[in-house]
């Protein structure tokens, strides 16, 4: 039998994170949800309990406030005893038009999705390494692979994040830290609710299943759904003058 995991999940109240938390709960893993809205966290924890979580709790943690990360992890350690897996599905999204109009929103997206996510991962990394290793799984995006018109800023944050995670994996795998980068294509979640689903749009549930697989097998990079791997390998090779013509 597989040992149950003890998981810290940032972003588990919604979308892919919600689907993932449910799968973890249903197979008996122990979970602490991190997030910024106490009431939402409480409701999500109730949901996980009904689904059979052996342990489910929440701790407040806001990606806009990096100074709170350390104490959130302390709290998680108290609740769980220890944790061996940290998952980050939290991020911000806004359309290119919104971000071009609204400087404040742009600033928040850039810091939350990149700088503060990196700081959060650093805190997680230190704690996991302190107990001899563990798994750090973070959701980046296919949007980070090329510069594209509708996701100039969002794509840039995800590009930076992917590179950081790649470096982290190279530097610490020897010491027992398994860094897992997930690159989803379009997934039907609250994040993308206003947008028209393109071909290969996936459900959060199927994506969560694949993420679980990557976590259990320590796969360093996974495109989800899998069809995005061959698609992105073509798109990465397209010359810039071609990319410039595309509006997607």
């Amino acid at each position: 039998m597989r040992e149950p995991r003890s998981v810290v999940l940032l972003g588990g109240t919604s979308g892919i994170g919600r689907a993932l938390a449910r799968k973890l709960a249903e197979r008996g893993d122990r979970i602490v949800l991190f997030g910024r809205k106490p009431e939402e966290l409480e409701r999500s924890v109730q949901d996980l309990r009904v689904r059979g979580a052996s342990k489910a709790a929440w701790v407040e943690c806001d990606l806009r406030k990096p100074e709170s990360f350390a104490s959130s992890f302390d709290e998680a350690q108290k609740v769980l005893g220890f944790f061996d897996t940290v998952i980050v599905t939290a991020a911000r999204f806004a359309t290119q038009e919104q971000l071009e109009r609204d400087r404040e929103l742009l600033y928040e997206l850039l810091t939350v999705n990149f700088t503060h996510t990196v700081l959060f991962c650093e805190e997680a990394k230190n704690r996991l390494l302190a107990r001899g290793g563990g798994t750090l799984c973070v959701l980046s995006s296919v949007a980070g692979e090329r510069g594209r018109k509708p996701v100039v800023f969002y794509g840039a944050t995800k590009a930076g994040l992917s590179r950081y995670l790649e470096g982290l994996d190279h530097r610490f795998r020897q010491e027992g830290l398994r860094v897992i980068t997930i690159k989803p294509g379009f997934v039907k979640t609250p994040m993308t609710a206003g947008l028209k689903p393109p071909p290969f749009a996936a459900e959060a549930d199927e994506v969560a299943e694949l993420i679980l697989f990557a976590i259990d097998w320590g796969i360093p990079v996974l495109y989800v759904p899998l069809v995005w791997a061959p698609i992105m390998s073509v798109i990465r090779r397209l010359p810039r003058f071609v990319m410039r013509r595309f509006n997607f």
Partner: protein, 474 residues
């Protein structure tokens, strides 16, 4: 009225997300749609402030879940799908309105619990089930879902969020069961589940030769089985009009059921519109023939998968696209027992006269009327017909409605798209005034409304100048 609209159109709406949703094309299950704004939200409480209507998985066939005008916001609840508690001793479940029946079944059936009442598809939300006060194959024993609902958490038109039940605000509670979302927005549902002895179904089926025999067979089966329903081949006329298959079932006891949990069923998906000739009278006649004669022995007993028994159509995702771009409608009426056994025959005759207007008909005997002020079922026979849209669809529905009126019956709003207001008002002349009175009390300005309520209840049309889009078809 106008000043309220002024205040609540576009940007002034209090949304949880940063910007209001764009105008998009919103469809019912029959694929006829309108332009409107659909807001998907995980947090129903903030999202419901200022919303004109709620909708779930959009399995209502007609315009019940569609906004009245392009400026109206309809909140889609499907991301609000958390189960908030389960009291195993008293079988009470509390969940957010967007929780789907499929998810409830997936979580609870392996533990030996099932929903108190289920419609013929799992792709419905709790909120949608309550708003339509759905019935199932067991209506003659278990009534509608409303009977098993204990309380609702709602956002009402004046902005308050409150709990209602048979004790607290009973008028609001009872009008909401089957109230098609017009009394307020359901945020959470508390209901009592049922314990089942195994996850397998003991099934009985039999071939039936004509409509008279069918009514008799249904009545007989109802005495022995909690679940009964009939499928009628509508293309057969004359002496064999109303021939079909009667299906009955019950949960198998642990000793007759396999010890394993039935594997989830595989699904195929239809992701494009069928050209209209595929579902023509000839292909369907052939299919119906096969379906009927496959059942060679007159009677059959077997053990079946619960999904096959309750949700045969769910095996094909997007089956509504088989009807092509023009879409289809469902017509469902109930004829009171008092109208006598000849009434269903008269309805079928109208249908067969219209030549291939419908292929398949589902027939079911209903138990007594429930508590919902405007719920559909009443003691008698319910008939449901899938009707592909053609030039004469309006005329056919009118003729059917006139017949139903003569018989003292009524239609099921969650299926309807074509009924005329005067027919509806006449059918509901006993109940509609009470419903409207309760609505008036809770929502004097009729802020909560749907395309259907404008069409059938006479709600004022939102003024077109406020709608920043044209209502033409895509």
């Amino acid at each position: 009225m106008d000043s309220w609209l002024e205040a609540h159109t576009d940007h002034s709406l209090s949304f949880s997300s940063e910007s209001p949703p764009p105008i998009q094309w919103i469809e019912g299950w029959g694929r006829i749609g309108v332009w409107g704004k659909e807001l998907h939200s995980t947090e129903l409480e903030p999202a419901s402030a200022g919303a004109a209507l709620f909708r779930g998985l959009g399995r209502s066939y007609g315009d019940s879940s569609l906004p009245a005008g392009a400026g109206d916001v309809v909140v889609n609840t499907t991301f609000a799908d958390r189960i908030l508690g389960f009291d195993e001793k008293h079988l009470i479940v509390l969940a957010e309105a967007g929780c789907s029946l499929r998810e409830l079944n997936r979580v609870f059936l392996p533990r030996g619990f099932f929903v108190p009442v289920t419609p013929g598809t799992q792709f419905v939300t709790l909120g949608g089930m309550v708003a339509s006060d759905v019935h199932g194959k067991d209506h003659h024993v278990h009534g509608t879902i409303g009977r098993h609902v204990l309380s609702l958490r709602m956002r009402v038109a004046d902005g308050r969020v409150l709990r209602c039940s048979r004790e607290e605000h009973p008028d609001l509670f009872l009008a909401t069961l089957g109230g098609m979302g017009l009394t307020g927005h359901i945020l959470e549902v508390e209901m009592r589940m049922r314990r089942v002895p195994s996850p397998w179904i003991r099934q009985y089926s039999r071939r039936v030769d004509d409509i008279d025999e069918f009514l008799e067979a249904l009545a007989q089966a109802a005495k022995r089985w909690p679940y009964t329903v009939g499928w009628i081949d509508c293309l057969t006329r004359g002496r064999h009009m109303g021939r079909g298959i009667l299906l009955a079932g019950d949960w198998a006891s642990p000793d007759e059921a396999p010890s394993s949990f039935p594997k989830p069923k595989k699904k195929i998906n239809i992701s494009f519109d069928f050209p209209s000739f595929i579902l023509g009278p000839h292909t369907v006649a052939a299919f119906n023939h096969l379906y009927y004669w496959r059942h060679l022995p007159r009677e059959r007993f077997c053990l079946t998968h619960w999904e096959d028994f309750f949700y045969p159509l769910d095996a094909i995702g997007g089956w509504n696209r088989m009807y092509g771009k023009r879409g289809f409608t469902q017509y469902q009426c109930v004829l009171p027992a008092a109208a006598g056994p000849e009434a269903p025959r008269r309805v079928l005759e109208i249908l067969t006269k219209h030549g291939g207007a419908s292929f398949l008909c589902v027939i079911k005997d209903c138990g007594p009327e429930g508590e919902g002020v405007l719920s559909f079922p009443m003691e008698g026979v319910s008939i449901a017909l899938d009707i592909p849209i053609r030039g004469d669809t309006q005329e056919l529905i009118d003729t059917l409605n006139e017949e139903v009126l003569r018989e003292g019956g009524r239609i099921y709003l969650t299926k309807d798209r074509f009924t005329r207001r005067e027919h509806f008002v006449e059918m509901e002349k006993r109940r509609l005034p009470r419903f409207q009175e309760i609505r008036q009390k809770w929502d004097p300005e009729l802020r909560i409304r749907s395309a259907q309520s404008v069409r059938l209840f006479g709600d004022p049309m939102p003024s077109p100048k406020k709608a920043d889009g044209f209502a033409f078809r895509k």
